[in-house]
């Protein structure tokens, strides 16, 4: 009996220990996690920040100092660049180690290693897209450049110095939740983060959908509904700009254009293209500002997550003094300013991703047909480790164009990221090319004038960005920058025959012939992801860019702006006015026959008629209009362009607006699935009713829950969607077609305004905080300011000796 009792209780005790030390599904190992000596309680940071500290590092070459301002933003001052980037790596890791680790795992297809089987398709996808392949080539290129190699090495050493200083109880909380350990940082991780930007900003493609449309409706419909230049545009490079260069010869279209006959694969669902990854920037010449000195503003829009996407920092060494935001995991400043220049970026929607059909000789896939002969494929074997299961081997075949992302019948059935990928095609993507983009930022961080800016941009490849620029010499400029392949018109609009060499990319647009404008007569430059140029530019970049609405609104307001100051630029960044509403609301309202409306549809109609077309948080009209116009687009196109078997996309918003305004009798209004002949007015009315009815269904009879801020329901989730680590509901305004391009969880990831001059002032804010620790008071301390559309004045130390009463703590760093 005693043995029995001893055995039972021993078993209970040991079982408890073992079970509580295991991660079960998504539940962390509870004993380990709750243990107040090593578990999550250790990540609870005091409101009081560390007092002054002295740190020593092996490998440090001189001395450095880190001064923290009241938001714990580090201002790093070093004797030499090695120590500077070392300290940047150290600080960034201290604040964002888990984010850096998770994002590089995500990019390189190594998530299954920590979260188990559920990430296997994602991991395969990232590897098949060649993310690591591209990052490795980038590292090789960086190694050829001594300064950049030193920069990467210093940053890496700094990150690792931090990692090596950690005891298990010090690990960021997400490591404890997911029950894994940080591993050493490598330069390829930094490269992966830049590739991740390419995947986010230049990783989309329409070719598969467009080919299906071409097959179904023929070239005339494609030309009509998917034109190569929009109905309304306000290009980034003003139309009056002259191209003062002699263009190189553009390759001729391949004669066969086999696109029409390309077979496409089936069993794939349509993905409605998501808009919202875009940005605004502009620069004003001194002639338009109150101070007489130029100003620059930038707000890059991304899918927002916590920890904050960007990491604020100031870096001071003997050859530079730069301030702004960095990518957690990469050295230098990406968007920012120094004492003489400021720059900001928005995405360029150039076509830098194409698909080529692949014909293998046989089942071994060792050879593929190209240029009238069999050519060898290259194999890349991906070994995917999986937590709690055996590793999976995945073979990816590469042609000279790139990886065959999915072989026939290989694509997973329910994996949204792969929806627009055709099976049996090789991917030609700029993100696979060797490039040294870090040099661009290295040089911009040190730029003194316009010619330094131009020189820096020569090294930039991807993701292509519109670099707006302003300097203290009163120069302003904007340059869509990147590696733009030389293409004939519509080259890569459709899937291409991979066996025909004529279809390949043949070199690039000479970098000095990339579109650019300096000091235009209108005294400002701007961009909002719209077309880079008008059709007079001698090269083809793409057939479609983001809608013109934001850019046009910015240009309208900047044109009439004079004596501009920080407040006027801030009000423009927060502008909620909808160009789309301006364009179509009058037509929509005049087309509704109010006789058939029920009481609540009548009441809503009255509100809409009085609505000022601003997507402010408290507007009910904005909610009704947004659902209305979206449903109207669906009702027009859904019957013709949503086919389970052969996925397609809808014509653009621009083309829809053009048709609504100018083609009242177009055949596309008719719903082909009904015997009745629907008209434009029928659809406008039915979509209007849908909009009011759906609001009523969600929120009850009209009440304050119908207000746009609530309907949009902005919030910022945690990067790994951990409940409790995201933000709460943020009641703000904005819309996809407003300058303040805010949607549910997508919007301005950083807002910056720089007023250059002797007494330079800079302002900025991001939705988050400097710390990546959910247990820190600095994790989300800027969200309130951001949500209200306000900015923080950025502390910019003018020199090593310039101190400020905003500094609350100072660390001294030296060699061991």
């Amino acid at each position: 009996m005693n043995f029995f009792k001893a055995g039972i209780t021993l078993l209970i005790a040991l079982t408890l220990v073992i079970v509580l030390n295991l991660k079960l599904g998504d539940i962390p190992p509870l004993g380990k996690f709750l243990d107040p000596f090593h578990g999550f309680w250790n990540n609870a940071e005091s409101r009081k920040v560390d007092k002054n500290k002295d740190l020593t590092f092996a490998g440090f070459k001189g001395n450095a100092e880190i001064r923290f301002d009241e938001q714990m933003i580090p201002h790093i001052i070093a004797d030499n660049n090695y120590d500077l980037y070392y300290a940047q790596g150290y600080m960034t890791a201290k604040d964002r180690l888990w984010q850096m680790d998770f994002q590089t795992r995500f990019a390189s297809g190594r998530l299954s290693e920590v979260v188990g089987k559920k990430a296997i398709e994602l991991d395969k996808y990232q590897r098949r897209m060649g993310m690591m392949f591209g990052a490795e080539r980038m590292v090789e290129e960086m190694k050829k450049d001594n300064q950049i190699e030193e920069t990467m090495d210093a940053y890496t050493a700094g990150v690792n110095a931090y990692i090596h200083s950690l005891k298990p109880e010090d690990y960021p909380i997400e490591f404890k939740l997911l029950n894994y350990k940080p591993e050493d940082w490598k330069p390829v991780n930094s490269a992966l983060l830049l590739k991740l930007m390419s995947a986010t900003l230049a990783g989309g493609s329409n070719e598969f959908y467009m080919t299906n449309i071409l097959n179904k409706y023929g070239p005339d419909v494609v030309k009509d509904l998917f034109p190569d230049y929009p109905y309304r545009e306000d290009p980034i490079i003003p139309s009056t700009t002259k191209w003062d260069f002699k263009p190189v010869e553009v390759p001729k279209p391949s004669a066969d254009l086999e696109v029409k006959g390309e077979k496409t694969s089936y069993n794939i669902r349509t993905k409605v293209l998501k808009e919202g990854i875009g940005s605004n920037n502009w620069a004003l010449a001194g002639a338009k500002t109150a101070s007489g000195m130029p100003m620059l503003a930038n707000d890059p829009h991304l899918d927002l997550t916590l920890p904050a996407i960007w990491y604020q920092i100031q870096l001071i060494s003997n050859d530079m003094n730069v301030c702004g935001v960095s990518i957690p995991g990469a050295p230098g400043v990406i968007i920012g300013f120094n004492e003489r220049v400021a720059w900001g970026v928005t995405n360029v929607g150039a076509d830098v991703l194409d698909w080529y059909s692949v014909k293998f000789k046989d089942q071994t896939k060792k050879q593929y047909w190209y240029d009238n002969k069999w050519n060898p494929t290259k194999l890349r074997i991906e070994n995917i480790a999986i937590a709690g299961a055996d590793a999976v081997l995945d073979t990816v075949y590469y042609t000279h164009q790139g990886p065959v992302v999915y072989l026939n019948e290989q694509k997973p059935g329910s994996f949204a990221k792969a929806d627009n990928i055709p099976e049996g095609y090789a991917l030609r993507w700029i993100a696979h090319d060797a490039s040294n983009d870090t040099r661009t930022f290295y040089m911009l961080n040190r730029a003194k004038n316009y010619s330094d800016y131009r020189e820096a941009l020569k090294y930039y490849a991807a993701p292509a960005q519109n670099f707006a620029f302003a300097s203290i010499d009163d120069d302003i400029a904007i340059t869509p920058s990147g590696y733009f392949p030389l293409k004939w018109n519509d080259h890569g609009k459709f899937l291409m025959d991979g066996s025909n060499p004529a279809n390949d990319w043949k070199g690039r647009i000479p970098v000095e012939q990339n579109p650019t404008v300096k000091n235009p007569p209108r005294n400002f430059v701007s961009s909002a992801n719209q077309f880079s140029t008008d059709p007079t530019y001698p090269y083809y970049l793409n057939w479609e860019f983001a809608g013109y609405e934001r850019g046009h609104r910015i240009n309208n307001r900047l044109t009439v702006m004079s004596q501009a100051n920080v407040d006027s630029l801030q009000s423009l960044q927060n502008d909620n006015y909808s160009m789309l509403a301006e364009n179509i609301l009058p037509l929509l309202i005049s087309s509704v026959d109010t006789k058939g409306l029920n009481a609540s549809q009548q009441e809503s109609f009255g509100i809409l008629k009085k609505w000022n077309k601003f997507f402010n948080a408290n507007e009910i009209g904005a909610s009704i209009f947004e659902i209305w116009q979206k449903e109207l687009g669906n009702e027009i196109w859904r019957d013709e362009f949503a086919d389970e078997k052969s996925p397609m996309r809808f014509p653009s918003r621009d083309r829809t607006v053009e048709m609504l305004l100018n083609e009242p009798k177009a055949k596309w209004y008719d719903n082909v699935n009904t015997s009745k002949k629907e008209t434009r007015e029928d659809l406008i009315l039915s979509s209007y009713k849908y909009s009011v009815d759906s609001l009523e269904k969600r929120f009850g009879p009209m009440n304050k829950d119908w207000q746009w801020g609530n309907v949009k329901h902005t919030h910022i989730p945690h990067l790994a969607k951990v409940a409790g680590f995201g933000s709460g509901f943020i009641n703000n305004g904005g819309s996809k077609t407003s300058v303040n391009a805010m949607s549910e969880s997508n919007g301005p990831s950083w807002r910056m305004i720089v007023a250059l001059g002797k007494n330079m002032k800079a302002y900025g804010v991001y939705p988050g905080g400097e710390s990546g620790n959910p247990g820190s008071f600095y994790y989300d301390d800027m969200i309130g300011t951001w949500g209200n559309g306000k900015l923080n004045e950025l502390l910019y130390l003018k020199s090593k000796s310039d101190n400020s009463d905003r500094i609350i703590s100072t660390w001294k760093l030296s060699g061991k």
Binding site: K5, A13, G31, K32, E45, I173, A723
Partner: protein, 119 residues
Amino acid sequence: MLFLFIFIACLVFQLVLPWWIICPIAMGLAFWKAKTAGNAFFSGFAAVFLLWVIVGLFHSIPNENLLANRIGQLFTLPESQFNWVIILIVTGIIGGLVAGFSALAGFYLRIAFLKPARV
């Protein structure tokens, strides 16, 4: 007495060793010192419950319970300013149960092997 021994030993050893060290500590000390089954279990439970709650508070108070409240949401509690109380009690109970059962096992092991006079 046993309570105090477990409390102090766990405090010292946990500074350097992983959380499960509370199991052998409670087991060993109960093997040596426990008078009854009840005495073993409750000494182990109370000592570690109290220890973990106190150390949890030591971290959480300067943090104004910010993180513990978030952890409440992570464990699907609704957003509240008082989640931390629940998380703190759960923390104490988890540690307490492990130590309690370990101590109980220690006590029964002794009577199984050493057959003390009291039984």
